[in-house]
């Protein structure tokens, strides 16, 4: 490979396309920090190509050579359709439209998994104890608009393979009679109560409504942010069902993250991303996440050795998209 070839993948456009916002960044050359980070509202643009064009224009940037972005939907072929979002595109057609030499479209949690090995200590906040086993599998989970799940497995040669499926759609477990009752309430609404039905923004609202139903309270029409605000509020603004929703959310997340750790043998640690948990900040450590994570009978000791971290990095998926491009360069 000649030096010229090695530069051929640059400049790069990197992206993190969520249900609401699309975040874009620029990388001039290998090893450069990401620059020109800008977030655009998806609803302002008819197509993803329009959104990219608007970004490039606003930042005064030329057409990128390579493009990589994570997107909050399954990527299984050339056709990408966002869930709950009008954007739909063909990867090959989008590459042509952007005039890029290469376009890599990843599931957003696939991108996040690519970022994990490159995260620094100051981009992570530990929850509980445990120590990562080097080269062991790593799990990534993150409640946001939905529940994203992915994993990393060492290929034995200092590289990683990303495991990505639809792990948010495992059937939701229950560890207490109260949870089993909430589950029963939710099952009246949903044919399949997946983990995502509880572990996501809408899931917080579902949990709140289930708690209200069990307590005989009339549920208010709340947004996920309202549930969180009322759970942590004091005085009259405080709401017992909101608090239960948030506590149960953390318990169930611990349970599901523990299941994920067992399923992947993730002795390299569990990383929590997504839009909800990092925003809870220090309050998350007060919730029963870790307690429930390790609460698996005789596998408690196994799980106690596994560290759990909240990803606090600003835009880890952008970094992940860059590393995914590196990995396939």
């Amino acid at each position: 490979m000649s030096p010229a070839d090695r530069h051929s993948g640059f400049p790069r456009l990197l992206g993190d396309v969520g249900g609401t916002n699309a975040r874009w960044a620029w990388q001039h050359a290998p090893g450069d920090a990401l620059s020109n980070v800008r977030t655009l509202a998806g609803s302002d643009y008819a197509t993803i190509a329009d959104c990219v064009a608007a970004y490039l224009k606003a930042e005064g940037l030329p057409a990128p050579r390579d493009v990589g972005f994570g997107i909050a939907t399954a990527v299984t072929g050339d056709r990408v359709q966002m869930t709950n979002h009008p954007w739909s595109f063909s990867i090959s057609a989008l590459r042509t439209a952007l005039g890029a030499a290469r376009l890599r479209v990843l599931n957003d949690f696939e991108a996040l998994a690519h970022a994990v090995p490159a995260l620094d200590a100051d981009q992570l906040s530990p929850v509980g104890a445990g120590a990562a086993v080097r080269d062991a599998a790593v799990a990534v989970i993150g409640p946001g608009t939905g529940l994203g799940v992915s994993g990393l497995v060492s290929d034995g040669h200092a590289g990683w393979r990303v495991i990505v499926g639809e792990g948010g759609h495992v059937t939701l477990p229950a560890a207490t009679t109260r949870e089993a009752s909430m589950l029963a309430v939710m099952r009246e609404r949903f044919s399949h109560v997946s983990a995502e039905r509880a572990l996501s923004g809408p899931g917080l609202v579902n949990l709140y409504e289930a708690a209200c139903a069990l307590d005989g309270e009339t549920a208010a029409s709340l947004e996920p942010a309202d549930v969180m605000a009322r759970a942590f509020a004091s005085g009259a603004a405080h709401d017992a069902q909101c608090e239960e929703a948030v506590t149960t959310f953390a318990s169930l997340l611990g349970n599901v993250a523990g299941n994920l750790a067992l399923t992947l043998g993730a002795r390299g640690g569990v990383y929590i991303g997504g839009g909800i948990v990092p925003r809870l900040g220090a309050r998350f450590a007060q919730l029963p996440f870790r307690k429930r994570f390790v609460d698996k009978g005789r596998f408690r000791a196994y799980l106690e050795t596994i560290p759990t971290w909240v990803i606090t990095a600003e835009s880890p998926a952008l970094l992940g998209a860059a590393r995914a491009l590196d990995a396939t360069a």
Binding site: G165, G168, T171, P173, A175, A180, S191, H192, T263
Partner: protein, 640 residues
């Protein structure tokens, strides 16, 4: 005799909670002398293995692999459902094996999956496997085993998982009733206040079948459910007369559908899900008609995702043995694999502590390790966008003297090749690491050659050489030294011999060979034009050609006898060292053989052979490489 037969049979074992099954593998995939022992009849693992080994014909077992029904981590094995425990390394020594690999039995079964024939499995429901996609496996028996296979570089990575211990998630009223029953009846494990953990294994196992039966009998209003055993429940359910047993088996299949679907979505197992273990394969077609598959696909909005994923029941008897054999073979082949990542792994670990500029170098090395090997410092600095002293500082941060020292360590890690100079490492730990790596690479390559020795071609080479009038050795480049060594050996054996390493001299020498002479050609690639020309010229003169070269090479096809050494080394980067050692050893094998044959057949010795005879015993003693009793490799643990 099978030409691919192993030098010594390999011992394979599959240790469950109740039975220990043993077999020997005599050639790849050839299993013989299978035997099943009751664990309870033997005091410990050593006793069980010894008792099986005693039934074998005399001969040494060098390599063994054991699949065991519990997590394998580190050196200490402690069985979850049985009292046997041992240190793998101590056990290897006690049993006198060169290699003892211990793996989780589900990891072993998983490794067998890509090789299952269509007659080894039965599909349940629809779906098509996607090529080279993740595969999941669940096996219900005395426990619930779970694993997955991730495709990587033409092979597979097996997940070492404890997925059977995930929390049970009920889907309907019947399953909620089962969960409540389990909460009520299971003893608290973690003291008062802790939640009782009801895992999928609690229900999807032999004891689980009994627990489900108790719960559903209670739910059906039976006063005190009789304590039926799992086999009895299955028998009655298959008979169809006992409603609670039918209900129990139905719930079991449904819950297995949930667990299988959870695994499928978590791993993105588009390659399919396999069901093994002791229970399901015995249910026969009943399982195919059960609600397993409909539950598997019943994931609300994601039903279409699951409907495309095929599910199979494993019907093969020996799948675990084949898997454990594949892992053993891969370990013997890639003994150097773990060492290969040492330097890159070190960079990964050190990365967080590097300065931002050094980190740019680290990222560049990790992204393009092979180009870094070739690039001068200025180029590395330019591409990483740092100054040249930063590149040197990066090398020193990793404990290297400088860039060339770093490149040596990187090269030996990347290629499994031994660099020719490795004296610049000064820190003790680095020396140790490097020494271990170099010797490990070499030893594993030697073992590989030993496993693939072709006795027939060695016998024929010995017969030809022993009768030859003269043996001229031909090689070029780095292999000149090997040819020189061959010449010394032949001379020592009393065989007139010359060595030619210059192409023009080679051409001339080949053209004066006689009908009773041999051209002994050494070429790792077997593609050098000048050496192919030597073989042709030798044949024109009526001479025979014995080649030490790669299988399937042009030279191998031309030679009368080929001594095969297949060892790929990246000769662009540095001198091929391991390969030369292997060639030297192959020549040594042949010369020892000639010496032994002469000792047997020549009596009394002709005066000219006196030297050779007195040399023969020494030659044997200096050639322990292939018959050494000393262990050349030890693998003490393997859990993935």
């Amino acid at each position: 005799m099978n030409p691919s037969a192993f030098d010594s049979p390999r011992l394979l074992a599959d240790i469950g909670g109740t039975y220990a099954r043993f077999t020997i593998e005599t050639a790849p995939g050839e299993l013989e002398r299978a035997a099943t022992l009751r664990c309870a009849d033997h005091a410990d693992f050593h006793a069980a293995v010894s008792s099986y080994l005693a039934t074998l014909p005399p001969g040494r077992v060098a390599h063994a692999a054991v699949a065991i029904a519990n997590p394998v981590e580190g050196d200490e094995v402690r069985m979850t459902n049985y009292h046997w425990q041992f240190s793998i390394e101590a056990m290897r020594e006690r049993l006198g094996f060169d290699t003892l690999v211990v793996v989780n039995d589900f990891t072993a079964l998983a490794m067998a999956l890509p090789h299952l024939a269509s007659s080894d499995k039965r599909q349940v429901g629809g779906g098509q496997p996607r090529e080279r996609s993740v595969i999941g496996i669940l096996g219900s028996g005395s426990g619930l085993g779970v694993s997955g296979l991730i495709p990587a570089d033409g092979g597979w990575i097996a997940l070492g998982t404890e997925g059977g211990h995930t929390s049970f998630s009920p889907r309907d009223e019947r399953e909620l009733a089962i969960l409540h029953h389990a909460w009520r009846t299971l003893p608290p494990r973690d003291g008062p206040g802790a939640n009782k953990h009801v895992s999928f294994e609690r229900l999807l196992s032999g004891p689980g079948l009994e627990l489900i039966y108790q719960a559903l009998a209670e739910r059906a209003g039976a006063r005190a459910a009789e304590g039926l055993s799992a086999p009895e429940i299955a028998r009655r359910a298959l008979g169809g007369n006992d409603a609670v047993c039918v209900d129990t088996l139905d719930a079991f299949c449904a819950i297995l559908g949930t667990a299988a679907a959870n695994l499928a979505v978590t791993l993105g197992a588009l390659g399919g899900i396999y069901i093994g273990g002791g229970i399901v394969p015995r249910l026969g077609k009943h399982f195919d008609r059960s609600c397993f598959r409909s539950r598997f696909e019943d994931k609300g909005r994601f039903s279409a995702y699951l409907a495309q994923i095929p599910t199979w029941v494993i019907t093969a008897e020996n799948a675990t043995f084949h898997g454990v054999a594949a892992i053993l073979a891969a370990q013997l082949r890639n003994l150097s694999g773990a060492a290969a990542s040492a330097i890159l792994g070190q960079i990964h670990r050190a990365r967080a502590n590097l300065s931002p500029a050094e980190r740019r170098v680290a990222d560049h090395v990790l992204a393009h390790p092979r180009s870094v090997l070739n690039d001068p410092v200025a180029e590395i600095a330019r591409v990483a966008q740092v100054s040249q002293p930063t590149v040197i500082r990066f090398c020193r941060s990793l404990g290297c003297e400088g860039l060339s020292d770093f490149k040596l360590r990187l090269a030996s890690g990347l290629t499994g090749t031994v660099p020719v100079t490795h004296t610049q490492v000064t820190r003790d730990d680095s020396v140790l690491e490097l020494g271990t790596k170099v010797l490990g690479n070499t030893a594993s390559s030697i073992l590989q050659v030993r496993d693939h020795l072709n006795r027939d071609s060695i016998d024929r080479a010995i017969a030809l050489l022993a009768q030859a009038g003269r043996v001229d050795c031909f090689a070029v480049g780095y292999y000149s030294a090997v040819a020189q060594d061959a010449q010394y050996k032949f001379l020592r054996l009393g065989l007139p011999s010359a060595v030619y390493t210059d192409p023009r001299a080679q051409a001339m020498a080949a053209r004066v060979l006689g009908a009773n002479d041999i051209a002994f050609v050494i070429s790792p690639s077997g593609r050098k034009e000048e050496l192919l020309a030597v073989a042709d010229a030798a044949h024109e003169r009526g001479a025979r050609v014995v080649a030490v070269t790669a299988s399937q090479s042009p030279l191998a096809r031309k030679a009368d006898v080929t001594l095969i050494i297949d060892h790929a080394e990246d000769v662009d980067l540095h001198l091929p060292m391991v390969s030369r050692i292997l060639h030297l050893l192959m020549i040594d094998i042949v010369s020892v053989g000639i010496a032994m044959q002469r000792q047997e057949s020549l009596a009394p010795p002709p005066p000219s052979a006196m030297d050779e005879l007195s040399a023969a015993p020494r030659a044997r003693t200096v050639a322990p490489g292939v018959s050494a009793a000393a262990p050349l490799a030890k693998i003490t643990s393997h859990s993935h």
